[in-house]
């Protein structure tokens, strides 16, 4: 039994806006084991990135974690000060952002930007040691060593994204968060980057949190997954189990709305309506307005949301279990 690296319990996070408080993350709990890959999937605005940002406490200034705990190797992160957090970011948890390839500083060489991150965490390393380390990282992600002395504009999108992965690995993190790392890339490049991430994860024994809206990518990359809707996790379990035996109405729709190039060509189902506003108090099931067959009690919003274990290691929102 591998040990738990990251444990998130009842995490609640909201953004304070003029219109009111937006509850972006609502009562999210999950565990990440050593060497495991965990997928977070859901449509835009469902809170995937907000969860990732809360883990690193990199959220915007108007975001507040109202309750819950995030434990990295039994170390509580929520109560840490900014100074203490700086030690954990990149060394404990690192992140590959969405569109991160555009986040390089255009006037500083790639190698120097990675060295900067290493210097922060290992101030006693010599410049040569750091360069050796970067070369090793470039070998892992499949880049030539000479890229170190190039500027970001000299690289293609795929190469920049590989370099970002090398940057994320530069301080030997325990947990790597990949937030839609391939969204801006072409299918062929996406395939290469996905293979690279899987390889790196296996090689270094990393725990991976993979965030995507593309359920096909999640199917390939992860062993466990959670489906998010309107800020909360509605279904969680083994990836294979969720794909073969989805229980939540939203998961079912998500699976039926994804086109595939294998198997019979089938009619896809569309998901009508829009996700609910998360401003103010939210009562009852958030999915019931879009649900194809909500029960009466669900429509009256008399059921509370919350995960229950429907089968071993397969958690589903209780509202939907009672519906069916």
């Amino acid at each position: 039994m591998s040990k738990t690296v990251l444990k998130v319990e009842n995490l609640n996070m909201h953004y304070e806006t003029i219109a009111g408080n937006v509850s972006a993350v609502r009562d999210v709990s999950f565990e990440l084991k050593e060497g495991e890959s965990f997928g977070l999937v859901g449509e835009s605005g469902c809170g995937k990135t907000s969860v990732a940002m809360s883990l690193l406490q990199l959220q915007a200034d108007n975001a507040k974690i109202s309750s819950g705990s995030i434990k990295l190797n039994d170390e509580e992160l929520v109560t840490k000060t900014e100074k203490e957090l700086r030690k954990i970011r990149w060394k404990g948890i690192s992140i590959v952002f969405q569109g991160a390839m555009n986040a390089w500083n255009p006037v500083v060489k790639i190698g120097e930007q990675i060295r900067e991150a290493i210097r922060e965490h290992y101030p006693n390393n010599s410049k040569e040691e750091n360069s050796e380390k970067i070369k090793k990282l470039f070998d892992i992600v499949g880049l030539e060593h000479s890229i170190m002395n190039r500027f970001p504009h000299e690289l293609s999108g795929g190469m920049k994204q590989r370099a970002v992965i090398a940057l994320a690995l530069s301080c030997d993190p325990k947990v790597l968060i990949a937030d839609e790392p391939t969204t801006a890339l072409d299918v062929v490049i996406q395939d290469q980057i996905l293979k690279e991430i899987s390889k790196v994860q296996e090689l270094l024994g990393l725990s991976l949190i993979y965030i995507s809206h593309d359920i096909a990518v999640i199917a390939e990359m992860t062993s466990n997954m959670a489906v998010m809707y309107a800020g909360s996790i509605v279904e969680m379990g083994k990836t294979s189990e969720i794909f073969s035996n989805p229980r939540h109405a939203y998961t079912k729709l998500l699976l039926e709305s994804t086109p595939s190039i294998v198997g019979e060509k089938k009619k896809l189902r569309s998901l009508d309506g829009e996700p609910p506003s998360l401003i103010g108090d939210i009562k009852g099931c958030t999915f019931s307005p879009r649900c194809p067959e909500p029960s009466d009690s669900c429509k009256n919003q008399s059921l509370e949301m919350g995960l229950i274990e429907a089968a071993p290691d397969h958690f589903v929102d209780q509202c939907c279990v009672e519906c069916v």
């Binding site: 395939d191 996905l194 593309d214 096909a216 994804t258 086109p259 190039i261 294998v262 060509k265």
Partner: protein
């Protein structure tokens, strides 16, 4: 024999690139290099390939947004039922041609004028082509908004694009395109900016409209799974050339060209049990075809399945 809505023969679009001191080094980029295809009336062709392979340039040349360098494009004339060469059009005919060929762009956030109301946006093509009376035009706007699922239309007409979600905006672009009742619509990745949940409803909408209004699509995408859902035939483009073109299911089940195989093998499959085949570069099948047909650019290997025979060994890796 079914009539074609568009026939493209040896289309070429070159760009001149200047570089060096005082731009004295001139070189030519062959963005679209000698491609040919036909689309039968009411059918849809998917144009699939990597970014930068020339998909959008092809589309722009067909719509006459860019002047083509070489080649022949013939378009179905709804009145005479003949094929007209678009090079022979005078101004009046060109305007008529533009009524029948329309384009849907990738980004619904940038392709709608932010200062115009939805009504103005959809009215504009009707005004330009001077169709019907003012009342007719307003009726047409209401009708098309209802068709694309923005109901009741009165609620949407006075709104501005920023008040709508991405899916609704893309519906407005589709409405603007189809209000002219075109025969042929070029769709440049119309769903790639949209969220998964909305994507299918837009794709279904387009499929239904194609059936009802007898529209043909040239559907540009880099996602083969989307192309499979939308199109009767698929053309695979690589480095400015079409390398393989066949019926959708035939192409996916029986790809011949190494680039097609590679493209197919890199599409993720939404099934954790499914093991994707590892892509292996293998020229044997292609070499065999080239050897047997040394003179042809495109070879029909049976069942309307065409393979390009030009040498790709230097560019493919």
């Amino acid at each position: 024999m079914k009539k074609n809505v568009i026939e493209v023969k040896n289309l070429e679009k070159y760009f001149e690139v200047n570089s060096g001191f005082l731009n004295r080094n001139k070189s030519i980029v062959k963005a679209v290099d000698n491609i040919s295809f036909d689309i039968p009336l009411g059918e849809s062709l998917g144009l699939v390939g990597q970014s930068g392979c020339g998909k959008t340039t092809t589309a722009r040349s067909l719509c006459l947004l860019d002047q083509k360098t070489n080649g022949e494009v013939k378009f179905y004339n709804t009145e005479t039922q003949e094929m007209d060469d678009i090079d022979n059009f005078d101004d009046a005919n060109l305007k008529k041609f533009r009524r029948n060929i329309q384009m849907i762009f990738q980004d619904p956030y940038e392709s709608l004028n932010p200062r115009w109301t939805i009504k103005d946006i959809i009215l504009e093509p009707l005004n330009i082509h001077n169709i019907g009376t003012l009342n007719d035009r307003e009726e047409a706007v209401k009708e098309i908004l209802t068709t694309v699922g923005l109901t009741p239309p009165e609620n949407y007409m006075p709104r501005y694009p920023h008040e709508l979600s991405g899916g609704q905006r893309q519906r407005v672009s589709i409405a603007r395109t189809l209000v002219m009742k075109p025969k042929f619509v070029v769709c440049d990745e119309p769903t790639s900016m949209l969220d998964v949940s909305i994507r299918i409803s837009i794709m279904d909408l387009m499929l239904n409209l194609a059936k009802d209004l007898e529209v043909s699509y040239l559907y540009i995408t880099h996602d083969l799974a989307v192309a499979r859902y939308m199109c009767n035939r698929i053309a695979v483009m690589f480095n400015g050339k079409i390398v393989e073109i066949a019926e959708t299911e035939e192409l996916l089940k029986n790809p011949i060209h190494p680039y097609t195989k590679r493209l197919i093998s890199s599409i993720p499959v939404p099934d954790p049990q499914y093991q994707r085949q590892e892509y292996e570069l293998n020229y044997d099948e292609l070499d065999e075809i080239i050897k047997n047909n040394p003179d042809d650019d495109m070879v029909d290997i049976g069942g309307n399945h065409y393979i390009a025979t030009h040498d790709v060994k230097d560019s493919l890796y």
